[in-house]
Amino acid sequence: MGAALAINVEEAVGELIQLVSFNLGDEEYGVEVLKVREIIRMPNVTRVPNTPYYVEGVINLRGKVIPVMSLRKRFSLGEAEYDKRTRIMVMEVENELMGFIVDSVSEVIRISASEIQPPPPVVKSGVDQECMSGVINQTERLLVLLDLEQVSSQDERRMLTSVTI
């Protein structure tokens, strides 16, 4: 994945990329705006039993039932109460909708592709290396670019193997 994105990045040098930036704790993350379907407030979440603890459950998105996961829990960033700033980012992952719970969504930023640097080899935060597709180092902020497709596809694999055991 890292390789594929690297190529993308190289091709896109100088091009502007739009990112949605969001917060998990004190850290700031970003995902490509085109991948985000919508951003909604926390509705009632129905817990789904026998799922990994970071899967909060399912929600009703205008008649569609979609799973939501807490990115905080997913990346082991500690739990936090949901408040009025909490948002669900609904993204299309492998042709299915999925919600990711984040502390808050701040803004859409434009950066040039050349600003994206490969992720540092060792990152202290709990974010899995594979889910991180780059780091954006602007003067007063550090933004971690996430690849959420990677997040869920990894989980799926993990869940599948756990089922077969």
């Binding site: 009632n44 789904v48 039993p49 026998n50 459950g57 039932v65 799973p67």
Partner: protein, 604 residues
């Protein structure tokens, strides 16, 4: 060849019509064998074949024309009374019809293959000559396959090959070298191709809908539009500051009407999806006939309630299990004619296949008057095969013993035959019925016969469900699986080797606490009593312990998506009236889960 047909619509029309005619034909032919003097029936069969012939000649499907033409000739002789229906003639006609089906399915797939039709044709020919005063008639060019192969696909040749087939020559020695070509290919596999071809023939991508139903649907939609307008009006009134009491009253009325209209609409749409069970049933007379002949048994198959309608999704799934059950009834259930006479029964065994509605379920039963299932024999076999131990067997009730025939690998047959005995069949039945959220029941009386009863939901998209609360969380249990609900005191529970059970009349019911299975942590004021929902899937029953029953509701099944697929105990989800999501409990995997089999299942 398809390329030549400019009008694709014409071809589709042809396929639809032909398929319909052919599906009916099998049934008619078998009936004809039983009542050879029924001239109406014979005429109908003749007309069907004739129509197929006419249409295929028009579209230039020569092979089809050839086969249907000869078949028609034979039928014509039957019609004129020059031949009398007997099983041998019927075998040949059925073979010809099978060939026609094969050719039609070739055309449907757009991949028209070279088919060996001469073998069947040659079998038909003697029928055209026998009893004929003059001599034996054989077409000139028949034994040369090139006639067929060389000319395929060329429109021009239609007339030519038809002519060649019709040209007749008087020969002294009938049927030259034909049996040699035919026999090895057709005889042993007589049964199998029939089934698979039937599947292929059934085209499920298009629906034929009664115009009346469509009109009804339109009417309902019209009603709905009216109610919508009414709602917009109400909202305008409300915004305009209408008296709240008046608004409340109007809104209440509107709610009732919308409720009425939508449920009507729902019924209508469901009806559009409904097809008569006849679609599945009608292939059985043919199968039973062949089976009976193969097994040397005499069988009278009776079909009841063929007009019973059920959802197409269910119809598609139910064919296989029924074939297995019918085979079982014939092979295991019914005795040979001599045995029957010795047992004081009539020579001819009876198998009754019936369908009926019962509430929101369809009941299909396969009943035979054969020897019945012997629990002792089943028990002995199960021990022999290592499926249960002697002690386990001793503790089992007769019912539970009978249920063991559904275990994979179980068979009482000493030797596996072509038809049954490998111990796969009943397992397939069980799996299929489970997939449909159905229940299977066995009734058996030794020496008198046995009956298999399938209870299936009418549709798979919308289900009746029982909403229950488990420590504050709401779950939905498919009502088709619910047998009864009980309010019990926790003190009435017993334990057997650490597992909770409940004495329910004369049986012992294993209990599953949903809060444990689903890890529900919420608090619930436990006042010592709770509810037990008895669910049954296929032949098994367990009790689900819940805190409260909330009532019955019709719910639309929503998939949980790939990410949450295969969760044990969860079949899907649904959206409740308040917009919250409730999970649908999957009784199948809960029951299996108790047996230590981890099987997840997903409703689509």
């Amino acid at each position: 060849m398809t390329m030549e047909i400019e009008d694709q619509e014409l071809l589709e029309g042809f396929l639809a019509e032909t398929t319909e005619l052919l599906e009916k034909l099998d049934d008619d032919l078998v009936t004809l064998e039983k009542s050879p003097s029924d001239s109406d029936l014979l005429n109908r069969i003749f007309r069907s074949i004739h129509t197929v012939k006419g249409a295929s000649s028009f579209l230039g499907f020569e092979l089809l024309v050839k086969v249907t033409h000869k078949t028609e000739d034979v039928l014509n002789r039957l019609r004129k009374g020059e031949l009398v229906v007997n099983p041998e003639i019927m075998d040949v006609i059925l073979e010809a019809v099978d060939l026609v089906k094969l050719l039609v399915s070739d055309i449907r797939s757009g991949d028209i293959k070279e088919r060996e039709v001469e073998g069947t044709l040659v079998k038909l020919l003697p029928l055209l000559s026998e009893n004929a005063a003059e001599a034996t008639v054989i077409p000139a060019a028949t034994p040369q396959p090139e006639v067929v192969s060389a000319k395929r696909g060329k429109k021009k040749s239609t007339t030519k090959s038809e002519k060649s087939a019709e040209t007749v020559v008087v020969l002294q020695n009938p049927v030259p070298e034909a049996p040699r070509v035919v026999a090895p290919e057709h005889a042993p596999v007589a049964l199998k191709p029939v089934e698979s071809k039937n599947e292929e023939l059934a085209d499920n991508s298009t629906v034929r809908v009664d115009v009346k139903r469509l009109d009804d649907l339109m009417n309902q939609v019209g009603e709905l539009v009216l109610e919508r307008n009414r709602m917009i009006q109400l909202n305008a009134n409300y915004q305009g500051g209408e008296n709240l009491d008046v608004f409340g009253g109007d809104f209440g009325k509107l709610t009732k009407r919308v409720n009425f209209v939508t449920s009507e609409l729902q019924t209508q749409v469901l009806k559009l999806r409904m097809i008569p069970v006849e679609k599945v049933f009608k292939k059985f007379p043919r199968i039973v006939r062949n089976l009976a002949r193969d097994l040397g048994k005499e069988v009278d198959l009776r079909l009841l309630g063929e007009e019973t309608e059920l959802d197409r999704s269910v119809v598609d799934e139910i064919g296989d299990p029924l074939i297995h059950l019918i085979r079982n009834a014939l092979d295991h259930g019914l005795e040979s004619p001599d045995e029957r006479v010795a047992a004081g029964k009539s020579r001819v065994g009876t198998v009754v296949l019936s369908a009926a509605h019962e509430g929101n379920q369809i009941i299909i039963s396969i009943k035979d008057d054969g020897r019945g299932v012997d629990p002792d024999r089943v028990g002995k076999k199960a021990v022999e095969k290592g499926l249960v131990t002697e002690e386990q067997l001793a503790n089992m009730m007769p019912r539970e013993i009978l249920d063991m025939i559904f275990l994979p690998g179980f068979s009482t047959k000493e030797k596996a035959s072509d038809l049954s005995g490998r111990g796969v069949g009943m397992d397939v039945v069980k799996t299929n019925i489970k997939k449909l959220n159905g229940i299977i029941d066995i009734k058996s009386e030794l020496g008198k016969g046995s009956e298999f009863i399938l209870k299936l939901p009418l549709t798979l998209a919308i289900i009746q469900s029982l909403l229950v609360e488990v420590n504050g969380e709401i779950y939905s249990i498919p009502l088709s699986a619910v047998l009864e609900t009980l309010r019990v005191e926790v003190s009435e529970f017993h334990t057997i080797s650490g597992k909770e059970v409940l004495k329910l009349r004369d049986s012992v019911l294993s209990l599953v606490r949903l809060e444990n299975v689903f890890g529900v942590t919420g608090d619930y004021a436990d006042n010592g009593s709770c509810y037990v929902v008895v669910v049954g899937v296929a032949e098994k029953r367990i009790g689900l312990v819940v805190s409260r029953l909330l009532g019955q509701q019709e719910v639309a099944i929503k998939s949980l998506g790939k990410y949450l697929a295969n969760l044990a105990g969860i079949a899907g989800s649904t959206i409740l009236g308040d917009g919250n999501v409730a999970l649908i409990v999957d009784p199948v995997s809960l029951i299996d889960g108790r047996e230590g089999v981890s099987a997840g299942r997903m409703a689509a």
